[in-house]
Amino acid sequence: MSRFLSNYSDTTVTLIGFVIFFTLFVLIVMRTYSKSQKSVYQRLAQLPLDEVKNSQKEDAP
């Protein structure tokens, strides 16, 4: 553990960490923006507005 910690700021470790996290980020973005998801997210975006149909007072005042 001491050896690991003493090399903690080593640039190789930093680079590996960066590659892992950046790859993960790119995958999330690709997945989120894939065309097949479009209709799903459009429906989810409507959730706060959906309540209006179910509620008595939402638009009242």
């Binding site: 553990m1 001491s2 050896r3 910690l5 003493s6 903690y8 700021s9 960490g17 996290f21 980020f25 999330i28 973005v29 997945r31 989120t32 923006y33 097949s36 998801q37 799903v40 997210y41 459009q42 989810l44 975006a45 409507q46 959730l47 706060p48 507005l49 309540e51 179910n54 509620s55 008595q56 007072k57 939402e58 009242a60 005042p61």
Partner: protein, 710 residues
Amino acid sequence: MQQEIRYDDRIVRQFLIAMVLWAGVAFLVGIWVALQLANWKFNFDLEWFTFGRLRPLHTNAAIFAFAGNAIFAGIYYSTQRLLKTRMASDFLSQFHFWGWQLIIVAAALTLPLGITQSKEYAELEWPIDIAITIVWVVFGVNLFWTIARRREKHLYVAIWFYIATVITVALLHVVNSIEIPVGLFKSYPIWAGIQDALVQWWYGHNAVAFFLTTPFLGLMYYFMPKAAQRPVYSYRLSIVHFWALVFIYIWSGPHHLLNSAMPDWAQTLGMIFSLMLWAPSWGGMINGLLTLRGAWDKLRTDPVIKFLVGSVTFYGMSTFEGPILSIKSVNALAHFNDWIIAHVHGGALGWNGFLSFGMLYYLLPRLWNTQLYSKKLAEYHFWFGLLGILIYYISMWSAGITQGLMWMAINDQGQLIYPDFVETVNRIIPLYWVRVIGGTLYMIGFLIMVYNMIKTIQNRGTLEDEKAMVPTFVSLEPSPQESTHRRLEGLGTAFSVLVFIAVFVGSVISIYPVLNIHRYVPVTVSVEPYSPLELLGRDIYIKEGCYVCHSQMVRHLDFDVIRFGNPSKVEESMYDRPFQWGSKRTGPDLARVGKKYPDLWHYRHMINPRDIVTDSLMPSYPWLAEKKAEYDQLPKRLRVMKSLGVPYSEETVEKATEIARKDAQAIAQSLRDQGVTDDNLAEKEIIPLIAYLQALGHKVKGNPNVSLSK
């Protein structure tokens, strides 16, 4: 099949009213402390009302009382409607409400009394820390229980932000508040020096992130579409915004410790991640503003939209400025002065304040079943508030940059152009008065809102919980056709675990190595622990909130070194519980003040600073020469310190009171020899405090050229 349910609107009304009450307190104390900085006489020479004690009251009231109650009001309102179910337990909701108000009252009583841990935004002592933990757990249980009972399969993005808030605030509070009690109102943290500094700013920075940002973003994602009557501009962007923000924010704490004795790698880590925050923060801001596409005309007529747009705009400004301030060279200019104060208030008054007010104007007519008394007054509120923030922001920005440049100014001979610290303070006092004007305008706007609110409530209709038709049963099981993230956001527990992992990974990587610094850096110097008398003095220093105006961290910057002395090293504060590196210099740094002046200088300076430094802003502390120090508590305090690793001998612990009194007699005698007339001087608080100040910078033995810092 549908069934009728009623949402719990009573709890929302309660939190809204509490929000307004505590906002009044926070703003009023804010103006008061602003006056104290413009003219020291506003300290009134009373110990309960000095800047050192009131400033923590102001910050705690603004963050946890005003913003806290605003968050809870918004969360309780939107969660029920987004999940199409009533809160799981009315009892837990009420427990949360009354428990939180009790905590605020406890804070309002203890902070002016000097009962504090001196850790910024975590000043409250251990019994209140335990109460916060219990109330927060109750809130979390109620929220997750409601999520489990929901009648809407998918969790809207606002709910994700609430989940991240609950989980991360719990983690931050527990880790930063691990302390050993030494009495009902006194404790020492288990972390010391650099470890305490890093844990504290991991907490402090992320209190801003997960108490003042993520829940408010959740509210933005709910109330912006509601007010504009349009779905959020890009739901996809909100997903990327959420995960990027939650993952990146947690790493950025070390940017509060740039150019300090913190290891370089940690400083660089904090700086890089702060710069990376630009992207998700602006992604969120753009998403919020573009939600108004096609509805910008409402900006002219709808006060709710006005406040929400103002709020998101200030969010954009603050999150643009924050990363800039995290660049080491910019931070060298901005840190310890009023530029940071400007930055903080742009976020607090603009982002948090305006969003809370926009939400209030949206909820008032709906919760009290009536119409808003006056849109015109709401408009006035907006313009008074906006003008107040701008005046505040510009004045403090100017004050900070002016003072920062004066601190940095060095002539051709390598000498400071403004060697007297007080000169750099007095130069900006006119701007402190301008700040008072800004704060007062904001307060006037707030009072207009209170009047509007009272008149609206006076015209209320029947108060009843809102009815809604919801599905009788909704299967929460994921279906095989669903995408990974869509399935995930339908699984509250799995989603929460992922959020926890995201914040946990960043936390461990950024703070774990520093918590173990002794395991991999060879120690070549020895540090003498504080004597019993010095420790007692240190506790008085903490009680009076001296850290609010005085840092104990000479940065690795030429102009700091020329002004104050050798740069601070990690080992110097290795026994400091809590650390006292500070975050603001309204007065000079004290890391090297030990033995710089005689005891009599300190005595006279404490009784009346103007006797020594004519233009000083510092409050007078006459009670220090009247109140008796708690010598009898010393054995208990030293024993706790010893249990935490401070190398006190058993004999020192047992005879701590005796040793301290003996040391105090020597200081008291020397003061009497120089004309101070008080036969019982050794028993007074001022003596241990002088002993502590004289010890600063004189505790390191051995080879001072080899430092743990590098």
